[in-house]
């Protein structure tokens, strides 16, 4: 058995919800993460000391708000490896980020006869915007299929790439089964065969892997704050300056304009051009506190912690009757254990586990196209993060055995 202490990477005591519920086994971090006290404090501190509308006021309090928002952008951009922090545009999360890119770049660049390539792994947030763009532009959506262990089939992906390919949008890490995309190889393939826009869905990448945007070689990288210890309502997308310059504004309003004439307008510079309206500065400040917390933990250690937990879980579950675990081996998988158990519907599993204080997710994980390909309508999914430990895994295993006992066929 893997040699592992009980210890989580981050003390439960840092997380008010976990501290208040010592018996809770929260294994749904791929849906949203718990928040450390430092993040809540940062938000409260912003409202208590610097609350004003950023960019708009000529008094000291407004300057404090503007500075706090600006520093948050720098901290977060740096954490994700973007030296030029103005190339980070804040959004509500990955979903809005993908809609932004699909509209701001896609609408002016994708035409009838063009092709958009995505994969069968995608979350609906990186599936439906492209599907609907293709539909409205008269372009063709091409879906790269998967290997038997739910990795993107690179040969199939390569076979879809051509001069007609205008966009390749692909997840960095699958939320549903945990597969990690080999980004370097994808970049090589895409750059070799196309001049397409290459968009990475980093909703599960940014929280769980070290990310170095400037080294990745992709055009856009989207992420959600709430999945990386940050608050809800904030996230963003980093892009190269060259690609941002090819974009048209998508949402219109205050802050993103330069001059508003009666019949037309001109636009502000990056990043403001793509941030219409009062920004969510407080939650950006909260997210900056979250990435500082993660930086102190070190993202390499975060990754190692999740691999260790995954391996521990696999060992403890080895030999369980009727258990099917999806996804690649731990070295190509994020801290996600997606599975089905014979004779027990995933929803029943989730309820029984809940009765044992184990929170997992059951359903299609916003990845219906993937579920169809797995031949199931739903899986159960346990997902780990920095505050998870082996006791959480033990509780999961114990509850699974219990579920199996309850649902065992009587005549078996």
């Amino acid at each position: 058995m893997t040699d592992m202490t009980h210890t989580a990477l981050a003390p439960r005591g840092d997380f008010p919800l976990l501290a208040a519920n010592p018996l809770l086994h929260y294994l749904d971090s791929a849906a949203t993460s718990q928040k450390p006290q430092t993040v809540l404090d940062a938000i409260t501190h912003f409202y208590g000391t610097a609350n004003a509308n950023p960019h708009r006021g000529a008094y000291a309090l407004a300057a404090a708000a503007t500075d706090a928002y600006h520093e948050a952008r720098e901290t977060i951009a740096q954490f994700l490896g973007a030296r030029d922090s103005d190339t980070l545009v804040f959004t509500r999360g990955t979903t809005e980020a993908m809609n932004l890119v699909a509209n701001a770049w896609g609408r002016t660049h994708v035409q009838a006869g063009d092709e958009i390539v995505i994969t069968a792994l995608e979350h609906h947030a990186n599936f439906v915007p492209w599907q609907q763009l293709a539909k409205s532009a008269g372009a063709q959506l091409r879906i790269a299929e998967l290997t038997d262990d739910q990795q993107v089939d690179l040969d199939h992906l390569a076979s879809l790439l051509s001069a007609r390919t205008k966009v390749v949008a692909i997840t960095h890490v699958s939320n549903a089964v945990g597969s990690i995309t080999p980004v370097a190889e994808v970049v090589r393939l895409v750059r070799a065969h196309t001049s397409a826009l290459l968009v990475l869905d980093g909703a599960q990448g940014a929280p769980h892997l070290p990310v170095d945007f400037d080294a990745l070689g992709v055009d856009f990288y989207a992420f959600s704050g709430h999945k990386l210890l940050g608050p809800m309502g904030i996230g963003g997308v980093i892009g190269t300056r060259a690609r941002w310059e090819e974009c048209q504004p998508w949402q219109f309003g205050g802050d993103m304009i330069e001059w508003v004439h009666d019949m037309d307008s001109t636009w502000n510079v990056l990043p403001h051009r793509f941030e219409a309206g009062t920004p969510n500065a407080a939650d950006a400040v909260g997210l900056a506190a979250a990435v500082r917390y993660l930086r102190a933990l070190d993202m390499t250690a975060v990754r190692a912690h999740e691999v260790a937990l995954l391996e521990y879980a696999q060992e403890r579950l080895a030999g369980m009757d009727g258990l099917i675990v999806y996804g690649p081996p731990a070295d190509a998988r994020s801290g996600v254990l997606s599975f089905t158990l014979e004779d027990v519907h995933p929803h029943d599993l989730a309820t029984i586990l809940d009765q044992h204080n184990v929170c997992i997710r059951a359903g299609h994980h916003c990845a219906q196209p993937l579920m169809r390909r797995l031949g199931t309508s739903a899986t159960a999914r346990a997902s780990f993060y920095v505050y998870s430990d082996t006791r959480d895994v033990d509780a999961l295993v114990h509850a699974l055995v219990e579920a199996q006992r309850i649902f065992a066929p009587v005549d078996a």
Binding site: H345, P346, T351, G363, H364, T376, A378, I406
Partner: protein, 141 residues
């Protein structure tokens, strides 16, 4: 929630398989959250449900609810089946439902009320039944 009654119906559901023939009226429901689907078919003889059956996949709650449904409405007047559907709905919402209105195995569904996220599972076959009865009303003119 997982009483023996529910598990029994789940393990060996009654009424599996849709009635056949030209007079079958069908209702279908899908749950986008888990991808489950449920079809319920009825054959009416006048104002009475002469035959009923279901087809579909789902969790134990859905399957048990469907199974109990077929037991409960077979050879019952349509109006009573509708009343039963309303009583089940009330039960699932956690209301007190008198024994005369709702008896037998179906009372085992009361436990579901404590799990709001699962109420939809129990409800699905009943919605499909109401759809089927509605369709029957439409074709009778």
């Amino acid at each position: 929630m997982y009483q023996e009654m529910i598990l029994q119906h789940y393990r060996a559901p009654h009424g599996r398989g849709l009635p056949t023939g030209p007079a079958v009226h069908e209702g279908a429901r899908k749950n986008p959250l888990c991808g489950d689907d449920m079809r319920v078919g009825v054959v009416l003889a006048g104002d009475t449900i002469a035959a009923v059956g279901f087809e579909g996949r789902g969790c134990s709650i859905t399957m048990a609810s469907a199974s109990m449904l077929t037991d409960a409405v077979r050879e019952r007047p349509v109006v009573e089946a509708r009343a039963l559907a309303a009583a089940v709905e009330a039960l699932l919402r956690g209301e007190v439902v008198r024994e005369e209105l709702l008896g037998g195995d179906l009372r085992a569904l009361a436990g579901v009320a404590a799990y709001p996220q699962r109420v939809g599972c129990a409800r699905m076959p009943w919605l499909a039944l109401l759809d089927a009865l509605e369709e029957a009303r439409g074709t009778r003119v």
